[in-house]
């Protein structure tokens, strides 16, 4: 009797293993084309908007800009972003033409830009607010959305009157 129970349990165990293995064999293959397509928020580049730019430096190459950005720490906070200067219309006219890549963080409000510039200065990093707003032509994400909404409700996540041409 006891032997029958043991044998039965073993048979059941083997059957369960085969069942699981067969299901695993029919699982979908890994997709070679990346993750499935679905709704995903595009990074806010403020394309077409007039933005306030805080500049941490301009460099001839992306590699130099990235190397410098690595050295500029803001504690655990996000600091500057490396972007090509060509993605902002009016940038070169204000910053000169010392290079093609810049360390920037962009804002829709002067208040947001000022707060960031103060923080950068506090950490001992250069921070210049360009005197005139520049027009974003899209391109890489450069920090938009990281400023307070003027109504005090939370972050500012869309255009405001001053940023719309």
């Amino acid at each position: 009797m006891h032997r029958r129970v043991v044998v039965g349990a073993l048979v059941l165990g083997v059957a369960a293993t085969i069942a699981v293995a067969s299901v695993a064999l029919t699982a979908p293959e890994a997709q070679p084309f990346g993750p499935p397509i679905g709704p995903r928020m595009a990074p806010d580049t403020g394309a077409g908007e007039l933005l306030v730019v805080v500049v941490g430096g301009v460099y001839p190459t992306r590699a130099e800009a990235e190397a410098m950005n690595e050295q500029m720490t803001f504690g655990d906070l996000q600091g500057y972003y490396v972007v090509p200067v060509a993605q902002f219309q009016g940038f070169e006219q204000q910053a000169g033409e010392p290079g093609d890549f810049a360390l920037v963080s962009v804002f829709r409000t002067e208040e947001g830009a000022r707060e960031f510039a103060e923080m950068a200065a506090g950490f001992g990093h250069p921070a210049t607010i360009l005197p005139e707003r520049v027009r974003s032509l899209g391109g890489l994400y450069a920090g938009l959305g990281q400023e307070a909404h003027p109504d005090g409700s939370g972050p500012l996540l869309g255009p405001i009157e001053e940023s719309v041409p």
Binding site: F74, D76, Q78, E115, M119, F123, G152, P155
Partner: protein, 202 residues
């Protein structure tokens, strides 16, 4: 010759005696001085419970970058360079009127009265070094996750000395027990010894 040496020894002895007497009088005065004499009390009034994880942080403190997150102003002088740093933090973590703090519209006594006062009272201000920051509407480095600074519930102290990535502490360890005793979580656990936050699991 022998007489001269004796006189020198006598003078040195007298100097040592006056130094000892002076120290015996001054040191107790210095050590005995307490912030409490000025009226400070560790009030512990109306602390919010410490949230764990993003959802609880939002439920307890509201959206990042809100006006509540940056409502309470505070100044703190660094002991090493003498610079006074001004920063802001959430209204639920301080700004309530006490003997030492004017009414700033806050709802508790946590940071500006209790933590600050406790550090002063225990003579630990010497270990508050330069680089003191609070609210900042910013993501965590390299991510699009809001930093606890964006909620006004994180303070960086002695940032130059206790820089991010350093997995030991040289100055903040002397007052970390005060922060922890008032509900703050110390960032040394994730190699960020400058960082104190009023939240866990995030």
């Amino acid at each position: 010759m022998d007489d001269g040496a004796g006189r020198t020894r006598w003078r040195a002895g007298r100097r040592l005696l006056s130094l000892t007497v002076g120290a015996a009088l001054v040191v107790p005065l210095l050590v005995g001085w307490h912030w409490q004499r000025l009226g400070w009390r560790d009030v512990h009034y109306n602390y919010p419970s410490r949230p764990s994880g993003y959802t609880q942080i939002v439920n307890r403190f509201g959206q990042p970058c809100s006006s509540a997150a940056r409502q309470i102003p505070m100044s703190w002088r660094a002991a090493d360079n003498g610079v006074t740093y001004s920063f802001r933090f959430h209204r639920k973590l301080g700004g309530y009127p006490t003997a030492m703090v004017t009414n700033k519209g806050g709802t508790s006594t946590n940071l500006d009265n209790d933590v600050y006062g406790h550090i002063q009272n225990d003579h630990l201000q010497y270990y508050i070094r330069h680089g003191i920051y609070g609210y900042n509407c910013r993501y965590i480095k390299g991510t699009t996750k809001w930093s606890t600074h964006a909620f006004g519930i994180a303070i960086d102290v002695s940032s130059a000395e206790e820089y991010e990535g350093k997995c030991t502490s040289t100055v903040n360890r002397y007052h970390k027990h005060i922060w922890e005793g008032h509900g703050w979580y110390w960032g040394l656990a994730f190699c960020d010894p400058m960082h104190f936050q009023y939240a866990t699991g995030y």
